[in-house]
C-alpha cells in the first residue's frame, strides 16, 4: 500500500466536482425561472431558454462568445495574480481605467473599441505607475496607495462621464454600460478585438510560460539565471491591463477584478500544479462567463457582470467546501474517517490483548473483560463493539455477552499489534530508547505505519519475534494465515499485499 499517488481518487473527485458544479448551475437556472415567471408577462422564460440554447440571436451569440473569451483570459491572468499575491492590483487597474474609457469615447465621440482600448490601457498603466511611485517615494503603504488611486481615478472618470452624458451624443452612447457590463451590447467589432487581444495574450503566455512561472514563484532565482525580471513584470502588467480592458464591456469596471480573482482562487483550491491551475481557472472562468451571459439574457436588461461573478462565486463556494484535498467538508470528513479508524483499531487491539492474556484459549472475549481492560463502562464498550460489527470486523454474541473477531478483524488486530511492538523494538534497538519510554510513541505511530515501512523495519531488526517487553510480535504468516516458512537463511518470502 503506497501512499504516494492517489491519482485515480483525485480524478474521480475532480469529475464529481465538475458534475456538481453543472448541477448547481442548473438549479440556479430553475430558481431564476421561478422568479421570472412571476414577474415578466411578455417573455416566457422557457422561450428565452430555447432561444438561448438554439443561439438564434446574433446578439446572444456575441454575448456568449464575449463571455467565453473573457472567462478564458481572466482565468489565465488571474492565476498569475493570485499566486503572486497581487489579487487587488486587478481591482485597482480595473477602477483606474474609467477616465481612460471616457477619454477614448471623447476621441471621436462614439463607442470605438480601439480608441477605448488605447485610452483605458493608458489610464490603467498610469494608475499602476502612480501606485508604485507613491509607495516608493512616500511613507504611504501599498494598500493605501492602491485604494487612493482606485477611488481617485474613478472619481475623475465619474466626472468625465457626467460631462459626456450632458452631450447630445453622449446620453445614448451606452457608455454607462461600462459600469456593470452588458454583454448583450457587444458588437461584431468588439468580439473581433476581444479575440485578437485574447489570442495575443494566450500566445505570449504560452511562449513565456517558463519565465512567468519562475518570476512568479522565485524572483531572485530567476534574476540569477538571467531572466529579465523587470521586463517580464512590466510586460505582465501590460497584458493584465489589456485583459481587463477588453473584459470591461461584458463584465463592467466594478466586477472585472472578481472575474480575475474568483476563478483563479477556485482553481488554487483544486490542484497543486500551475499548468493545471491555469486549465481549471480558464474552465471555471468560461463557465462563469457563459453563465453570466445566460442569466442576464433571461431577464430584460439585467447587467451581466454581477451574474458572472455570482456564478463564479457559486463554484468557489463548492470548491471551498468539497475540493478533494483543500475543501472544508472534505477535510472534516477525512479527519472524521481517520479518527473513527483509529478508534476501531484501538478497540481491536484491546480485544487482541485480552485474547492473548488468556493464551488464545477462547475465541471470543466477554464484554465485561473487555470493558475492564479498557477501563470503560460496559455501555461504552458495547457501543464500540457495535461499531466494529458494522465495519464487519467483529460479531457480538448477545446471549453470552461476548464479542468475536471475524477473520478480517483478527487480521487487522494482529497488524496493529505488530506495528506497535515492532516500533517499540525499533526504538529500543535502533534509537536507544529505554524500554519503559517507548509505549506512548508506538501508540500513535501504529496507526500510520505503512506496509512498506513495516517490511523495512523487519529487515533492519533482523526479523525479531519479541518486543522489548518480551511479548511475541505477530509475523506476516500469522497475519495472512500462511504456513510458517522455515527458510534457514532468514528470508521470509514475504509478498507485499497490494
Amino acid at each position: 500500500m503506497r501512499c504516494g499517488k492517489p491519482i485515480p481518487d483525485t480524478m474521480l473527485g475532480r469529475s464529481i466536482i465538475t458534475i456538481l458544479a453543472v448541477a448547481l448551475n442548473a438549479l440556479m437556472m430553475l430558481q431564476l425561472h421561478a422568479e421570472r415567471i412571476g414577474q415578466s408577462v411578455d417573455i416566457h422564460p422557457l422561450d428565452q431558454l430555447r432561444r438561448f440554447v438554439a443561439l438564434e440571436d446574433p446578439a446572444l451569440r456575441f454575448a456568449l462568445a464575449g463571455g467565453l473569451i473573457l472567462g478564458l483570459l481572466c482565468g489565465l491572468m488571474g492565476s498569475f495574480l493570485v499566486v503572486r499575491k497581487l489579487s487587488l492590483v486587478g481591482d485597482t487597474i480595473s477602477h483606474a481605467v474609467l477616465p481612460g474609457v471616457a477619454a477614448g469615447f471623447l476621441w471621436n465621440m462614439e463607442k470605438d473599441p480601439v480608441a477605448i482600448l488605447i485610452g483605458a490601457t493608458t489610464a490603467g498603466l498610469l494608475g499602476m505607475v502612480l501606485v508604485t511611485q507613491l509607495t516608493r517615494r512616500t511613507r504611504l503603504k501599498e494598500d493605501t496607495a492602491m485604494g487612493m488611486v482606485l477611488a481617485g481615478f474613478f472619481g475623475i472618470g465619474i466626472c468625465m462621464m457626467g460631462m459626456i452624458q450632458r452631450l447630445p451624443t453622449g446620453s445614448k452612447s451606452g457608455i454607462d454600460k461600462f459600469l456593470f457590463g452588458q454583454a448583450a451590447s457587444l458588437g461584431w467589432g468588439d468580439i473581433q478585438l476581444m479575440s485578437v487581444v485574447g489570442l495575443l495574450v494566450l500566445i505570449l503566455i504560452l511562449t513565456f510560460y517558463k519565465e512567468l512561472l519562475t518570476t512568479s514563484f522565485d524572483p531572485q532565482f530567476s534574476g540569477s539565471i538571467q531572466i529579465p525580471v523587470h521586463t517580464i513584470e512590466h510586460g505582465f502588467m501590460l497584458l493584465l491591463a489589456f485583459a481587463i480592458v477588453i473584459s470591461l464591456e461584458a463584465v463592467g469596471v466594478v466586477l472585472v477584478s472578481a472575474m480575475l480573482i474568483i476563478p483563479a482562487a477556485t482553481a488554487y483550491l483544486l490542484c497543486d500544479r500551475m499548468h493545471w491551475m491555469l486549465f481549471w481557472a480558464c474552465l471555471i472562468g468560461m463557465i462563469a462567463g457563459a453563465g453570466g451571459a445566460f442569466f442576464s439574457f433571461l431577464g430584460q436588461k439585467l447587467p451581466t457582470g454581477p451574474f458572472m461573478v455570482l456564478s463564479a462565486s457559486g463554484l468557489f463556494a463548492l470548491a471551498l467546501a468539497f475540493a478533494p484535498r483543500q475543501g472544508l467538508v472534505s477535510r472534516w470528513w477525512a479527519r472524521h474517517a481517520r479518527s473513527s479508524r483509529i478508534r476501531r483499531e484501538n478497540a481491536l487491539k484491546s480485544i487482541f490483548h485480552v485474547l492473548e492474556k488468556e493464551h488464545f484459549a477462547r475465541e471470543g472475549v466477554t464484554l465485561i473483560d473487555l470493558a475492564h481492560s479498557r477501563s470503560q463502562t460496559l455501555h461504552e464498550t458495547e457501543k464500540t463493539c457495535r461499531e466494529l460489527t458494522r465495519a464487519g470486523l467483529a460479531s457480538i454474541a448477545h446471549e453470552e455477552k461476548a464479542v468475536y473477531l471475524t477473520p478480517e478483524g483478527m487480521r487487522r488486530a494482529q497488524t496493529i499489534v505488530r506495528n506497535h511492538r515492532l516500533w517499540e523494538r525499533y526504538l529500543t534497538d535502533a534509537a536507544n530508547y529505554r524500554p519503559d519510554h517507548v509505549h506512548d510513541d508506538a501508540e500513535e505511530i501504529e496507526h500510520v505505519l505503512g506496509e512498506a515501512t513495516v517490511r523495512m523495519l523487519e529487515r533492519q531488526l533482523n526479523f525479531v519475534d519479541r518486543d522489548p517487553h518480551g511479548k511475541p510480535i505477530p509475523s506476516i504468516q500469522d497475519i495472512s494465515g500462511q504456513p510458517k516458512n522455515r527458510n534457514p537463511d532468514g528470508m521470509t518470502g514475504y509478498h507485499t499485499p497490494s
Binding site: 485604494g147 487612493m148 474613478f154 466626472c159 482562487a265 454581477p306
Partner: protein, 331 residues
C-alpha cells in the same frame, strides 16, 4: 468639444451658489463636508492599521445588507400604509434603522467571511478580500435589479451616488421652526458620534493601532476595538452611501488621511489636517461641479485628489520638491 468644458463664468460658478443658490448649495456643501470629515477621521485609523482595503471591501459589501433591509421594510411599509400611518418624519427615522442594521450585519459578515476563507484554506488574505466583497456586491446589484420596484436604490447610482439628490424635503423642525433637512441631521449625528468616539477612545485606538502587543499587555481588548471599528465603519459608509456611493466613499475614507500623513507625523495633527482637507475638497468640489456641470461627489473626489497632489509636491519631509532638492545637493 466646445460644450464639453463649459466656459468659466465668474458669476455662475462662484457668486451664484452663495446668493441665489445658497438655499440648496449650502446644504449640499454642509452634507459633503460632514461626509468627508467623518470618513476622513475614521480613515486615518484605517490607514494606520493597514486596513485601507478592508474599507474598500466594506464599502462594497454593505450593499446587499441595504438591499435586504429595503426588501424587508417594503413589506412593513405596505402594512403601514394600510393602517394609514403617514407620520412623515417618524416614518423616515423608523425606516432608517433596519437599513443601518442591515449594513452593520453585512459589515460583520464581510469581516467573518474574509477570516474564514483566509484562515481555513490556503487562499491568501488579499484574494479572500477580493472574493468576499465582489461576491457580496454582485449579490446586492442582482437583488436591486431583480426587485427594482421594491428597492429604493438606483443601480447606476450605487457606484457614485449623487449628493445633489439628497432629499431636502422632510425638514426636522423644533417647535415649529425648521432647522435642517433630515439627511443632514442624520449625518451630523453620525459625525458627532464619530468625534465623540475618537475623543473617548483616543488612547485605546492609538495604542492598538501602533502596537497591538503593547495594547494587549496593558489590558486593552484589541479584538473588540477591531470589531468596533468595523461596525462603526459600516455605519459611516452606509450613511454616506446615498450621497457618494460605494466607490467614491473609498476616496473619502483614504484621501484626507493620506494627505495628512504626508504633512504631519503626529496623529492629533493628522486628524486636524484631514478635517481641513475635507472642508477644502468639498468646497472646491462643489465649485468644480457647478463649473463643469457634472457629478458633485465625483468632483469632490477630484478636488481631494488635487489637494493630495499639492501636498505630495510640497510636503516638508516626503515632498517631490524636497526630494528633487536633496538629489541635486547630493549630485
Amino acid at each position: 468639444m466646445m460644450n464639453l468644458i463649459l466656459p468659466w463664468d465668474w458669476q455662475r460658478v462662484v457668486i451664484e451658489p452663495w446668493t441665489s443658490g445658497a438655499e440648496i448649495y449650502g446644504w449640499i456643501l454642509l452634507m459633503g463636508f460632514l461626509i468627508s470629515a467623518t470618513c476622513g477621521l475614521i480613515g486615518n485609523y484605517l490607514i494606520l492599521r493597514r486596513m485601507a482595503l478592508i474599507g474598500d471591501a466594506i464599502s462594497h459589501s454593505v450593499l446587499p445588507g441595504m438591499a435586504v433591509a429595503f426588501l424587508v421594510t417594503s413589506g412593513w411599509k405596505n402594512a403601514g400604509d394600510q393602517l394609514g400611518a403617514t407620520a412623515n418624519l417618524q416614518e423616515g427615522l423608523l425606516h432608517g434603522w433596519p437599513i443601518l442594521l442591515g449594513a452593520i450585519l453585512a459589515g460583520m459578515v464581510t469581516s467573518l467571511l474574509i477570516e474564514l476563507i483566509h484562515h481555513r484554506s490556503r487562499i491568501k488574505q488579499d484574494a479572500a478580500i477580493g472574493i468576499t466583497f465582489s461576491t457580496l456586491f454582485a449579490l446586492g446589484v442582482v437583488l436591486i435589479s431583480l426587485f427594482a420596484d421594491k428597492v429604493d436604490l438606483d443601480a447606476d447610482c450605487i457606484l457614485h451616488g449623487e449628493i445633489a439628490f439628497i432629499p431636502l424635503e422632510p425638514f426636522l423642525s423644533v417647535g415649529g421652526w425648521a432647522v435642517a433637512p433630515l439627511p443632514v441631521i442624520q449625518m451630523l449625528g453620525v459625525a458627532s458620534l464619530t468625534v465623540l468616539g475618537i475623543g473617548l477612545f483616543y488612547k485605546e485606538l492609538l495604542i492598538s493601532s501602533f502596537d497591538p502587543g503593547l495594547a494587549k499587555a496593558t489590558g486593552i481588548r484589541v479584538r473588540w476595538i477591531h470589531y468596533g471599528l468595523m461596525v462603526w465603519l459600516s455605519i459611516v459608509v452606509v450613511s454616506a452611501f446615498e450621497s457618494v456611493g460605494a466607490i467614491l466613499v473609498i476616496a473619502m475614507l483614504i484621501l484626507p488621511g493620506a494627505t495628512a500623513s504626508l504633512l504631519s507625523q503626529s496623529l492629533r495633527t493628522m486628524l486636524g489636517i484631514s478635517v481641513v482637507h475635507a472642508l477644502l475638497s468639498s468646497l472646491g468640489g462643489l465649485h468644480l461641479a457647478i463649473w463643469l456641470d457634472t457629478s458633485i461627489a465625483g468632483s469632490m473626489v477630484v478636488a481631494g485628489s488635487g489637494l493630495f497632489m499639492i501636498a505630495w509636491f510640497l510636503s516638508p519631509t516626503q515632498g517631490l520638491l524636497k526630494q528633487r532638492g536633496k538629489a541635486g545637493a547630493v549630485g
